[in-house]
């Protein structure tokens, strides 16, 4: 029983990382119908920036928030400079552009910081904490708390602020939003900025565990895709629930089902992705869209 709880919590922690990145993907997909293949690399890049700040002696939490701020500006800049020229064209073109961005950022990471693995300080001490007689990793609890807090703050933003409402309007009906005076282009940029921040959060939380290298987020991106599809590509709540569910499920499968070795975690996640796509593409929380024909 103890092990079960520990595995659940640990699963929730990795799930929190997947959920953040999945939420980033959904944010962008909802507003532009674009699947941002570069989301993981954007997260890696911002995590490197955090590492650099730490390397220059900036204290941890200052570097943390500075990185989030940088990530926001970074996301906005990428949308305005790289994505905007392609907004009116076919979706396939934008997909290729995000792939180009993926390759570009991956190379940039290695070029600026080198390809060797770097260690990354955790926000939380690594000692265990005792809750109800069960030992949990403080790191895991911290990651879960941060992820949930981030999601909650985002929810508050979208629900209660004027800009949040405008962003939702721009995603739901851009033409009408323009008529009410909303600058839809900038709302898209804001979406990318927020998504970038979520990605940065994801990277900052996983770097202490898997160490920082240019390919750090590639696997996480796959899990994030699986989580986003599981929850429903158009549903932010779905992305979060999907991420947490996926994290727990993978952990429990890995612990209790013996044919599932660690290398199989990825294919299992992909299997989940494929099954969802085949059975109910709109995911747990999505509404099935009617495709005539």
């Amino acid at each position: 029983m103890q092990q079960f709880l520990q595995q659940v919590v640990s699963g929730l922690a990795s799930g929190g990382v997947y959920a953040s990145l999945a939420l980033a993907l959904v944010l962008i997909y909802r507003s532009t119908e674009v699947i941002n293949f570069a989301q993981g690399e954007m997260a890696t890049f911002t995590t490197y920036v955090a590492w650099q700040l730490g390397h220059w002696g900036v204290p941890f939490w200052a570097a943390f928030f500075l990185t989030l701020a940088f990530a926001f500006v970074f996301g906005v800049a990428i949308e305005r400079v790289v994505i905007r020229p392609f907004e009116r064209g076919p979706v396939l073109t934008v997909v290729i552009v995000t792939i180009g961005l993926l390759v570009l950022l991956n190379g940039l990471d290695g070029w600026i910081w080198g390809a060797e693995i770097k260690s990354f300080h955790s926000a939380f001490p690594t000692r265990p904490i005792n809750i109800g007689g069960v030992a949990f990793s403080l790191q895991d609890i911290g990651v879960i708390a941060v992820s949930l807090l981030a999601v909650f703050v985002l929810w508050l933003f979208f629900r209660f602020t004027k800009v949040g409402l405008a962003m939702r309007a721009a995603a739901v009906n851009p033409d009408s939003a323009r008529l009410t005076g909303v600058r839809v282009g900038w709302m898209l940029a804001l979406g990318w900025g927020l998504a970038s921040m979520l990605g940065a959060l994801s990277g900052l939380m996983i770097a202490p565990v898997v160490f920082l290298d240019p390919n750090m987020m590639q696997v996480v991106l796959i899990y994030a895709f699986a989580a986003a599809v599981l929850g429903g590509l158009q549903s932010p709540a779905g992305a979060v629930v999907g991420g947490l569910l996926l994290g727990v499920m993978l952990n429990l499968l890995g612990t209790y089902v013996h044919p599932v070795t660690p290398e199989l975690r990825l294919p299992v996640a992909l299997l989940v992705l494929l099954i969802v796509l085949l059975v109910k593409p709109s995911g747990l929380f999505g509404r099935a869209t009617v495709r005539k024909v």
């Binding site: 309007a169 739901v172 009408s176 323009r178 008529l179 009410t180 005076g181 909303v182």
Partner: protein, 236 residues
Amino acid sequence: MPLLELGDVEARYGPIVALQGVSLSVDEGQVVAVLGANGAGKTTTLRAVSGTVRRTGRIAFDGQDLGRRGPEAVARLGIAHVPEGRGTFVELTVWENLRLGAYTRSRGANLKADLARMVDYFPWIERRRDQQAATLSGGEQQMLALARALMARPRLLLLDEPSLGLAPLVTREIFRIVRELNEQEGLSVLVVEQNANLALDAAQHAYVLEVGRVALDGPSEELRSHPSVRKSYLGY
């Protein structure tokens, strides 16, 4: 000086020319109707004003040339466009739709008072404020779209085919409210409408468009008795 003035406006959708030189004007405090058959260019005229479609020619609002402004900028000048099909944010709640309408208003503005005004005009809003707009009937959505536009406290309201798909009773109510707003608050309105009867009732002046051009214009009473208008649009 008229509030809105269109001079020789041309607009096209790709190779199709929708407006071939339309000139019209709306005075402050006036309700002006634009009549015409399907495809005559009525909706395009409104789109040209709100900046939704690219056009050549001169459009001046309050003497100021609108130039190449897009819809966001035009909205900020005080022009509110209720588009064809209403453009409701169906996934947002009724209240959120209204709040969005007031997007261009500055921070200090008294939104609560305006929201209360809308409830006055459309009492059912209070009951359904937290419902998703998609659950509203066609008539309610039209009223919501109108209320959304009014939240911006516009100087000019562009109203596109308010009767489309609505029961006659509902349409009559909408036009009554439009007339009331015009008489009591001096709201200027440019309304595009296929139902010539209702439109000529509400408007002081009207234009008839045919194939992208102004074929006829004049005060409503004159147009009412004009033989071709009677035959083509009023049915008798």
